[in-house]
Assembly symmetry: C2
Homo-oligomer: 476 residues x 2
Amino acid sequence: APQLEPFFKQVDQLSDSFIDRLRKAVAIPSVSAQDESRPDVFRMGQFLASELEALGAHVEQRPLGKQPGKEHLELPPVIVARYGNDPAKRTILVYGHYDVQPALKEDGWATEPFELTIDDKGRMYGRGSTDDKGPVLGWLNVIEAHKKAGLELPVNLLCCFEGMEEYGSEGLDDFIQAEAQKFFKDADAVCISDNYWLGTEKPCLTYGLRGCNYYSISVSGPAQDLHSGVFGGSAHEPMTDLVTVLSKLVDSQGNILIPGIMDLVEPLTEEEKSLYPGISYSMDNLHESLGSETGIHATKERTLMARWRYPSLSIHGIEGAFSAPGAKTVIPAKVIGKFSIRTVPNMESPDVNKLVFDYIKAEFAKLNSKNTLDVWLQHDGKWWVASPKHWNFSAASKAVTQVFGVEPDMTREGGSIPVTLTFEQATGKNVLLLPMGSSTDAAHSINEKLDKRNYIEGTKLLGAYLHYVAEEPMNA
Amino acid sequence: APQLEPFFKQVDQLSDSFIDRLRKAVAIPSVSAQDESRPDVFRMGQFLASELEALGAHVEQRPLGKQPGKEHLELPPVIVARYGNDPAKRTILVYGHYDVQPALKEDGWATEPFELTIDDKGRMYGRGSTDDKGPVLGWLNVIEAHKKAGLELPVNLLCCFEGMEEYGSEGLDDFIQAEAQKFFKDADAVCISDNYWLGTEKPCLTYGLRGCNYYSISVSGPAQDLHSGVFGGSAHEPMTDLVTVLSKLVDSQGNILIPGIMDLVEPLTEEEKSLYPGISYSMDNLHESLGSETGIHATKERTLMARWRYPSLSIHGIEGAFSAPGAKTVIPAKVIGKFSIRTVPNMESPDVNKLVFDYIKAEFAKLNSKNTLDVWLQHDGKWWVASPKHWNFSAASKAVTQVFGVEPDMTREGGSIPVTLTFEQATGKNVLLLPMGSSTDAAHSINEKLDKRNYIEGTKLLGAYLHYVAEEPMNA
Ligand SMILES: [Zn+2]
Ligand SMILES: [Zn+2]
Ligand SMILES: [Zn+2]
Ligand SMILES: [Zn+2]
């Protein structure tokens, strides 16, 4: 096993300067969604590039061109970097993003969102602290601690840090595809630190994400909105038909009612089932995050499976109907229902679409309505599942055990991180999600924070991971 | 029968000055819904009062106090007037309103909305032309024509013209109740001209209106909106429950599914049924007004019955769900469905409410959801049906036949005109709805108009009605 004490000691000694690095980064309001903040996003990219260069990395700022649909704006560059070029070492490609969600003090922040503010429990508040500046700087901290301790980095490190993640990662997919056999050519494995522990105490490794197919159903009839007094009872009402069709999609217990959908789902094996009881999670955790006791399932195992490895169907809303407070006696002429299906192995999007379209059209036909129904896919994103037994994961697991004294939970996520699949498909290498922050970090909300422990021990974890992954037997 | 030729001739001679009177009225943008237009509403009231006084009427401008919820605004006065005070004559109370709907050229008007513009087909375009300034001025025209022709008005005329009709008739109900035994004490019958012919050629008398009970159903669960990736499948979703409950209310063919509702509906008698075949209306008229062929029923009789004498249930929309264009993967925490039931004899509001509440709660209970449902009545307004055989109606029918050479259709309306019921209940007298405008007048829309024929012959009709109602045998 690697000897990590000198590295760990150096991290502890540098912890104040690492926090200072995070303070400087949080102070740059690199909000990708706001046009007027675009110069700050560039400034944040420059900050990262300068820090990496000062540490001795080879850095390139790669332009992505104009922003589609906002051609007056230049997309922020992808900051790619290489640290080490030893053919005898493995090469690890790490990803993170340096842009952040919008934040205004008046949204309800207790502190200035772009001033890192540390309370007496070591909670470091600030926009981007946990999403994703802390994890990105973690990699820089690892390099610095090795240098200062006179230690060699056990791998060649490739960095890919983007500046548009919070606004759809504009341009990134094409970039990764193009560089897979160029700048990223010698990557042996990929590591992404941009998600969160399931709870607050126990680290986890994440090996799966659900996909998402998002649909619209429109029902139209009259040429314009009608008055319900004048026409109620004499015309087919689009809203009646839409509500009836939507009610056939999913029941109150979360069961998808579209025939054939569940047949596409990979059966649960005994082996997979056995992963769930050990996971550090409870029904209280669910109720806390819901703010209510309206969970569907009785056990944590079934709850986590429902979130991670089974599909779900949510109805998001209706466009075109009366949606304001108060009362309006309108018969809307055209209404569009929106719903999405979270997908899991082995649901292929074309199969899902066919089942959805056929079923909805058949249900509508049963109504004998003279209205017109249309249903279409707005967008889809595929699920992702990696093998948690890959050497990339077993190395990370050993690193967690070394740093935190506990084996990590092997988790999946219900949502999607599309870049994960892009890296896997473009490089053909295993991708590991190795989170730094905890479930209470409030990414995307007010009072986002990163605990000092998660940042400093997290930096140790990233370094330890590089040591273990450098020597882990390649089983796959 | 009354000798009306001198009156009719005088109306024809004065027609240009009557149109000029309408031009002056349309030029005053008396929009009751816009705070900044309130001085114009007062100006319009003053115009009416001055014109009535110039004709020799006794006029009072009755203040209604501050506008509830907008205490910086004074409500426009009710203009009440008396013309004639002969105990030997019958007294007829007429109602109209001098405020109008908002209108902006840029909404799509082909002409300036507050400039009366007459095209070569005699269509007089302008906001308020048909709703309701034309009919209101019709009564003034009747007085003037009688005076100029040296004819005596055959009845005492009481006027009640309000300035807040398009904004909920604030304050009017209390005023009518209070004046029923004072200013309106000697009224023998009431006539309201504020609705429209069923088509464009044949006049009608209207003897019924549906009521409206407007309901909200809320379903709530989590403490805040959730991300469907994270929580989809593990929590009861309020939107799923609401859509399911809404789908149980009415089917695509317009059948109300709430048990017991149809049992409250007055059975169709053979006599009532026999009124429908003769009514001048066709399925083409329905399709034209819908702008589509999405009518439910095959015949005009069944269509008109569905609109006039059977209840209907319309779902208007959902508050709290995602209602914008595009895609958002939200699970809304609380959603409020809005629907209303158009009511008919003999549906009493408390009975309807009980059936609605009990049914919705029972349907929700079947779902075994941990979410919370609430259902309540937002507001209700009662249906109204008068006897079309009352002497008030038979007099009006004779007047129509005299002026237009055709017997009027006896119609009802699917919507409500709440002041009708108020007058009936407060005075205890028969109320007649005697429309002046036609179905194509586009009240409340862009390019509102009143045909010259409807205005001039309509003025003759109002005058003829006063003559017939003065001598019609009192059968009830
Ligand atoms: Zn992120
Ligand atoms: Zn984020
Ligand atoms: Zn009106
Ligand atoms: Zn109106």
